[in-house]
């Protein structure tokens, strides 16, 4: 029988389950389009790159046929867009040296190292030892407290967008995700972007609640290039033609 030693009270009702400590494993579900938090404080260079990204959402939305959103051709979501778009499902798996994030969209994954290694520096640099930028970057994680897992990421490929509005980032950007287990079934996710080339100050891109999925199974949610090409040819292109 479950006994809750910290629940207090003492009525005859069933005690709430204890929130798991240092554990955000399992499948979490959320909206396809999470709510973005605040206007991004662009630098002039950031503003110019933002203007060049023709998003299909937001105040300067264009039709699909006029957009250069990398997703149209089934390019990877990349990070941080994977946490800021198509967040219908993701899963964490803890192992001793790393936490794996499984992303429902495109069945991609991220490795978040928890063995104490530092983030790589000089990603994309000219030194023979510098690492290449990657669509999902390089990530390390740690527990800030028993219920908050903090992930830091850098070295992300700047072809990826930050979000569905087409905000850009540089390869030198630094991202922090905070996963706070509010209770057994609720995960609060906060994403902070620090990228002096693109933004004048760090800004919170998203603070969104996710819920533990009942069936604990990710769906197969793919962008299939051959099907996307056919969709674009038969639907999106005719819908976007100027007549």
């Amino acid at each position: 029988m479950f006994v809750c030693v910290a629940c207090g009270g003492g009525g005859s009702g069933s005690a709430p389950p204890e929130v798991p400590r240092r554990d955000i494993s399992g499948v979490w579900a959320g909206p396809p389009l999470p709510t973005l938090e605040e206007p991004a404080p662009f630098t002039p260079a950031g503003q110019a790159r933002y203007e060049a990204n023709r998003a299909t959402w937001g105040p300067k939305a264009v039709g699909l046929a006029d957009s250069n959103d990398p997703l149209i051709t089934c390019d990877p979501l990349g990070f941080p867009r994977s946490v800021l778009y198509e967040t219908r499902g993701f899963e964490f798996v803890h192992t001793p040296a790393k936490t794996i994030e499984l992303l429902q969209y495109q069945r991609a994954w991220r490795e978040i190292w928890t063995d104490g290694r530092p983030l790589p520096s000089d990603v994309g640099g000219t030194s023979p030892t510098s690492l290449d930028p990657r669509w999902y970057g390089y990530s390390v994680g740690r527990w800030a407290d028993d219920y908050t897992f903090v992930v830091e990421t850098t070295g992300t490929d700047e072809r990826g967008w930050v979000d569905y509005l087409g905000r850009p980032h540089s390869a030198a950007a630094h991202f922090e995700e905070r996963y706070r287990r509010v209770d057994t079934d609720t995960l609060e996710v906060t994403v902070t972007v620090t990228d002096p080339e693109t933004y004048t100050r760090p800004y919170v891109a998203m603070k969104q609640m996710f819920v533990r999925a009942d069936n604990q199974e990710l769906e197969e949610q793919l962008c299939v290039p051959s099907e996307a090409i056919e969709y674009f040819r038969t639907i999106a292109a005719p819908a976007g033609e100027r007549k």
Partner: protein
């Protein structure tokens, strides 16, 4: 009138008001990612046949709101509510389908669709 809220791709190319096409005949349901497409035909008053393509959610999104890949068969008679392209092309975002037997199928984005609620479970 329906409204469009959430999609993998935005619906900026489509009108925000729907039209309802009665006496349409299903040609084909393309069950594909990222978007399923319903192809249907309809005759105008002079008997001229127009072919329409209406995009809908992904297979996983439509499955959540009660569709199956076999939900529509070629030759099925339907009434269909769509958000037509602003430019007059015969393509659209799907809204709602009513089959001859009264069954109803909603796009995963349609205003009454339970998609946003269901996905959280």
């Amino acid at each position: 009138m329906g409204s469009v809220t959430l999609a993998h791709h935005s619906t900026a190319a489509y009108d925000t008001k729907t039209i309802t096409v009665k006496n349409a005949i299903v040609k084909r349901l393309v069950w594909a990612n990222p978007h399923c497409v319903l192809w249907f035909e309809v005759k105008d008053a002079r008997g001229k046949v127009a072919t329409w393509g209406a995009e809908a959610g992904s297979p996983s999104a439509l499955t959540r709101v009660g569709w199956h890949r076999t939900s529509l068969k070629p030759g099925d008679a339907i009434s269909v509510e769509i958000f037509p392209a602003r430019n007059g092309a015969t393509v659209a975002r799907l809204g709602r389908i009513v089959l001859a037997d009264g069954r109803e199928l909603l796009d995963s984005l349609y205003k009454d669709s339970p998609f946003d609620t269901i996905q959280r479970k």
